[in-house]
Amino acid sequence: MSASGGMSGLIVRRMLQLPIVLGLILAITFALLWIIPGNPMENEGRRPSAEVAEAMRRQYQLDQPGAFFAQYALRASGVAWIVGSHPVPFDLGPSMRHPDWSVNEIIAAGLPVSATIGLGAIAIALIVGSTAGVIGGLRPGSWSDGATQALALVGISVPSFVTGSLLLVLLAAKLRLVPVGGWGTPAHALLPMLTLSLPFAAYIARLLRFGLADQMQTHHVRTAMAKGLSRREAAVRHALKNAFLPVLSYLGPATAIAMTGSFVVEKVFAVPGLGRHFVDGVLGKDITLVMGVVLVYAALLVLLNLLVDILYAWIDPRIEIAARPQ
């Protein structure tokens, strides 16, 4: 029985679960959106006359939640397309607040932006966090450990609108190294990536530091050192791989969170990412936009968790994949 047999079983089962999970999440999101008072067609100051307001509710079948949801689910899932009643597959409908854009277009425009920043941030976080974690974990209690842990604490606790604004004032406005806000060139992406990476880097540093310190105390590492390996060699050859496991399991959801966009970072740097579109959608009760983004979020989260499980099994073959028969 090869490992890949169990692996493909796992993948198949997760893939079969995916539509059920997504369906449930969609239904809950829809119910929550329905409970929030208000109307997506309404804006701040002015209110239209009674007959226009009534027409607004009818326009998107907001007076018939059941029918609205059923139609939406059929179109979004692609069932309507397979049956032939709708021309486009996976059509998430027009945005209610931005009628010139379909939700698919909005996600297609926002996701690459958020994903770029998110992946960049995770990459920076991995490099910075691992370095700091290893420095601390190799010599727990030393001054370098204290310093990196203190920095990590700052990284976790200072909110990104503070670090973001500071970086913006310092690097963009004063030193003019990068543009202030907006999107378009790699220079635009630098500060958002850096800002977003800080809390992740700090968390990784802490996970790795404690994992490594623990591993260094285990029998096999101590045996290795007794046999003549230096502390550093023992760490690299025997401790690091195991110490890295908690980081790996954290990376799945962390990548999903980073990639789907941070509202705060995107707002501070005026980046047109999915996080900003999502929060604006919630505030404006843009039902179709919010449901579409939630759907993408949920799918990403499920898929990235699956990826982590696969990587886990690859790094540490002792870990049982649930699908593997005894």
Binding site: P37, G38, E51, A55, P112, P179, G181, P272
Partner: protein, 592 residues
């Protein structure tokens, strides 16, 4: 296997990554930071930033000169009005063209206006056309037909198309909008509307390019409604007739407008391209301006304003807008749960209004030194209209009004009671959270009323949607309000207090006031009409007091007046992006 998948995944991400880059070069002559544009469909617009872009992309029959407020010609080169003021005949310029070269015709206007009047579209500004003969009835008829269709069993493409054909026929036969030839548009009104030309210049009444729209429209067999696919306003697709055209638009990222070469009298040498960049965060917008990547911050909101204004900078401009910041009194006889509402009594309302020191508010709370207001219609904004005086700050008079209403401090505890000894109920003040300015004003008002009148205030900030629900249900005693005028006429403000008006949050109803507005509608002499409206405003600003005006709204711009010219500074802030010019010199010289 594993590695191939990994490599494919990494490559995909790399392509996504690279695909979203573009060159860092500045794309436009002028870069404007603005709130995000919601839609470029002129009939569906509501927001100021959308209307501003529409003024560049589309040209209505006529328009009001942004500096003088006078109506000047637009797509129509002339017009005539019948002696009874009910019939307007517009003559379009025979050489007027869309930017793709198609001729602009009266039919383009007619169908755009029909579109505005379709409940299918649920246009916010549909009611602008309700003065037209048969318009309101047409809207109601189509709405009832759609409702009947939705309830009925027979849902088919044919039935929906059939209803659509009936709708067009009904519009043609009952609504007073006709296009007798390609360059003539005749509009008949139910009664004279003195500001009708101003409405004709409003962006919701802009023409649409029919062939483009038709490509993106379909009749939905489920609901029988006319649906417009979200594609016709995209760059390369949108056909417009204004001084500018859409070169690029990326969702919440940037919009690029360039001069329309087909526009009459185009000035290619001077015309500038304009890029609109949505930056929501105020501090980022200011930093972007400071770093030179933005030339004009076109609406600075919230926390930054006071610091910037009081720094005395030459590039920070505080401009009074055509709007009034006010608070609403609940005028309904009781609260929605049946509790006693002390503000049903006009004497109490007047007392609370007189007890507000508005000068202190603008000096030490908002710190923007806005012009304080005792009337709803901004004085001096409408030619020939005489504003009433309103009620000044006068604590003695305020206490006397309360005493006359039976409220005074009878037991010396510092709180006022009525004759039965019941204390004045805690004043429930409603406002939306999230705006520090409003929160500051609410607290200051509560303090003024507590110290000046001896009442307790319950300051209730609520989240937007919940606050709106309370406002609509009348579940407040005093609530934050505010209004920007839509057209240059006092009724754009006064209608708020009409019985049953959709924006009458106060539940105010006064027969004398309604009668004055009705008389004004019938008045043929414009001066007489304005006198009636002025009397109506006096009634609500000196006697009935459903609304407590605080100050004029101001808009805050950041731009260097030596570098950027052509920004309108008159109260309607009716900006024309096509008039922006770079460099110093005479600001008015060569504007088209």
């Amino acid at each position: 296997m594993r590695w191939t998948a990994g490599i494919v995944g990494a490559l995909t991400l790399l392509v996504m990554f690279i695909g979203s880059w573009e060159s860092g070069a500045r794309r436009a002559d002028v870069r404007v930071a603005s709130a995000d544009v919601f839609t470029l469909d002129p009939q569906r617009m509501t927001y100021m930033q959308d209307l501003r872009v529409a003024r560049a992309l589309f040209e209505g029959l006529c328009c009001s000169d942004p500096d003088t407020g006078d109506v000047v010609e637009g797509a129509a080169k002339s017009w005539s009005v019948s002696p009874d003021g009910r019939s307007y005949t517009f003559h379009l310029r025979p050489d007027a063209r869309w930017n793709n070269g198609d001729p602009l015709t009266a039919e383009d206007f007619k169908q755009a206006w029909r579109r505005l009047l379709l409940p299918d579209l649920a246009a916010d500004y549909a009611e602008l056309l309700f003065p037209v003969v048969g318009a309101r009835a047409f809207f109601a008829w189509r709405a009832s037909q759609l409702e009947a269709y939705a309830k009925g069993e027979k849902h088919s493409a044919d039935a929906a198309q059939d209803l659509w054909r009936q709708t067009i026929a009904r519009f043609d036969s009952t609504v007073g909008i006709e296009a007798p030839d390609a360059h003539t548009l005749v509009v008949r009104l139910e009664q004279p509307v003195p500001y009708w030309l101003d409405i004709c210049g409003f962006q919701s009444l802009s023409p649409v390019h029919r062939p483009t729209l038709e490509r993106f429209s379909r009749i939905d067999p489920e609901t029988a409604m006319l649906r417009t696919e979200p594609g016709w306003t995209k760059p390369g697709v949108l056909v417009c007739n204004g001084a500018m055209q859409l070169a690029d638009w990326k969702y919440k990222r940037s919009m690029l407008l360039e001069p329309n070469p087909m526009y009459r009298g185009a000035h290619p040498a001077q015309a500038l391209s304009v890029e609109i960049v949505p930056i929501e965060d105020a501090s980022t917008a200011v930093l972007a301006y400071e770093s030179g990547s933005i030339d004009w911050v076109s609406d600075l909101t919230a926390e930054f304003r006071a610091e910037l204004v009081n720094a005395g900078r030459r590039d920070v401009h505080v401009l009074p807008a055509f709007g009034t910041d006010f608070w609403s009194f609940n005028c309904r006889p009781t609260m929605p749960d049946g509790r006693f509402n002390p503000f049903a009594d006009a004497r109490v309302r007047r007392a609370f209004a007189r007890a507000v020191d508005k000068r202190a508010l603008v000096q030490s709370v908002t710190r923007l030194h806005e012009p304080i207001a005792t009337t709803l219609v901004p004085p001096g904004s409408i030619a020939g209209y005489e504003s009433p005086a309103g009620l000044p700050y006068d604590l003695t008079a305020a206490r006397a009004e309360l005493a006359a209403a039976g409220w005074k401090d009878r037991n010396g505890d510092g709180l006022i009671e009525n004759a039965e000894g019941s204390v004045f109920p805690p004043v429930e003040m409603l406002f939306m959270t999230g705006n520090p300015r409003v929160r500051g004003i609410a607290s200051a008002l509560a303090a003024m009323w507590r110290d000046g009148l001896g009442v307790q205030c319950d300051v209730r900030g609520k989240d937007g949607k919940f606050a709106k629900e309370d406002l609509r249900a009348g579940n407040f005693m005093i609530a934050r309000g505010g209004w920007y005028g839509d057209y240059l006429d006092p009724t754009t403000f006064l209608d708020l207090s009409r019985t049953g008006n959709g924006n009458n949050d106060r539940g105010f109803s006064d027969e004398r006031f309604d009668a004055l507005l009705r008389d004004a509608e019938r008045a043929l002499d414009p001066a007489q009409r304005l006198r009636l409206l002025s009397e109506a405003e006096r009634l609500i600003m000196e006697e009935e007091m459903p609304i407590l005006p605080l100050c004029r709204y101001v808009t805050l711009y950041m731009y260097d007046p030596d570098r950027l010219r052509g920004i309108v500074r008159t109260p309607r802030l009716d900006q024309r992006l096509q008039r922006l010019r770079m460099g110093g010199g005479d600001a008015q010289g060569e504007t088209p």
